[in-house]
């Protein structure tokens, strides 16, 4: 028998706690409890898709943000903490159902999303544009000019383009269905390749 050093005592106490705790289970229960207490302002998860990993985030009102890999998911979460609330936890609340429907969409088995959306990150004319985008059906393409008119200002074609390019909920709010009047695809938050993939899929699906 020898007397242990301070370091050994501290390491053993630390090890016993760190190794014998089910942190995954504890964190899942914390998120569920927070939701019940009304403290989960933003829940999120990630998912794989044919156009790369996606971040899905929801408030109690509905899906509030879909982010592409190129946007850097960590940066997007910090933006949400500032714009909505820092009470953000990884949780299935409101986002697992979105992921399920997106999986079906990418598999060609779904044409309409049936999930509530929260448009709080957009205001004014941009929000009017997003509301109109929700009405463009699967497989249909509209020009920026048509979108501007439908959103209430036929001269605001450039602003309609900006609204599409900054759409916080791409895919579910289908800004990819808006193209230039000459038929070229135009810009997309997820990159031109992703927009091409989606339009091709919808044209053949």
């Amino acid at each position: 028998m020898t007397m242990p050093t301070n370091r050994e005592i501290i390491d053993d106490l630390t090890f016993a706690s760190d190794e014998m705790t089910d942190f995954v289970g504890l964190r899942a229960r914390l998120a569920a409890h927070a939701d019940r207490e009304g403290l989960l302002d933003v829940s999120y998860r990630t998912m794989d898709s044919p156009i790369g990993p996606l971040l899905l985030a929801a408030t109690p009102a509905g899906l509030v943000r879909v982010a592409f890999e190129g946007e850097n998911h960590d940066d997007v979460l910090v933006e949400l903490a500032t714009a909505i609330s820092p009470r953000i936890l990884r949780s299935p609340r409101g986002v697992d159902e979105v992921a399920r429907q997106l999986d079906e969409y990418f598999a060609g088995r779904r044409r309409v999303f049936e999930v509530p959306v929260d448009l709080q990150l957009s205001r004014g004319f941009r929000r009017a544009v997003l509301q109109h985008l929700l009405e463009i059906p699967y497989g249909v393409r509209e020009s920026y000019a048509v979108v501007a008119t439908a959103a209430g200002n036929s001269r605001a074609v450039r602003a309609a383009g900006t609204a599409c390019a900054t759409n916080p909920i791409p895919l579910v709010v289908p800004c990819h269905r808006v193209v230039r009047s000459d038929g070229t695809y135009g810009q997309y938050r997820g990159g031109p390749a992703a927009k091409h993939t989606l339009l091709t899929m919808e044209a053949t699906g």
Binding site: L13, T14, R27, L77
Partner: protein
Amino acid sequence: MQPFEEVVAQHSPVVMRVCRALLGPIEADDAWSETFLAALRAYPDLRPESNIRGWLVTIAHRKAIDHIRARKRAPEPADDLPERLPAGGGGPEPDDTELHSALAALPFKQRGAVVYRYLADLPYAEVAALLECSEAAARRNAADGIARLRRDYQKDES
């Protein structure tokens, strides 16, 4: 402000070390959950320059005190006592359970000083604030506590 998920990811282990060392394995999970739930509630109002680890350990300290007071108020009937790991057998790390038992046997101020100084890595000024004593007393309690643990917990050479 960083998303609360980041706070949980970074500080889960240290909060659990504190809860487990102060309360033992049975109540530690509840105290951990209560700590993070209370922290989540207050998080939007936290000053940006705050030391988050110190803040969380302070909340965990209060939750642990609540548990200890509740025990004193309502001692559990014997047949409700949760099963504990038998000393030296059954658990994956019987030595560690033994060490936690040795820690649990320390007077509260010594235990607190050891936990906050050595497991939570707080400066003595913060340890003293938590234990409501002078910095000198916090140093003495931490030194006495760890010395007693070293005496009580002697490892086999095997």
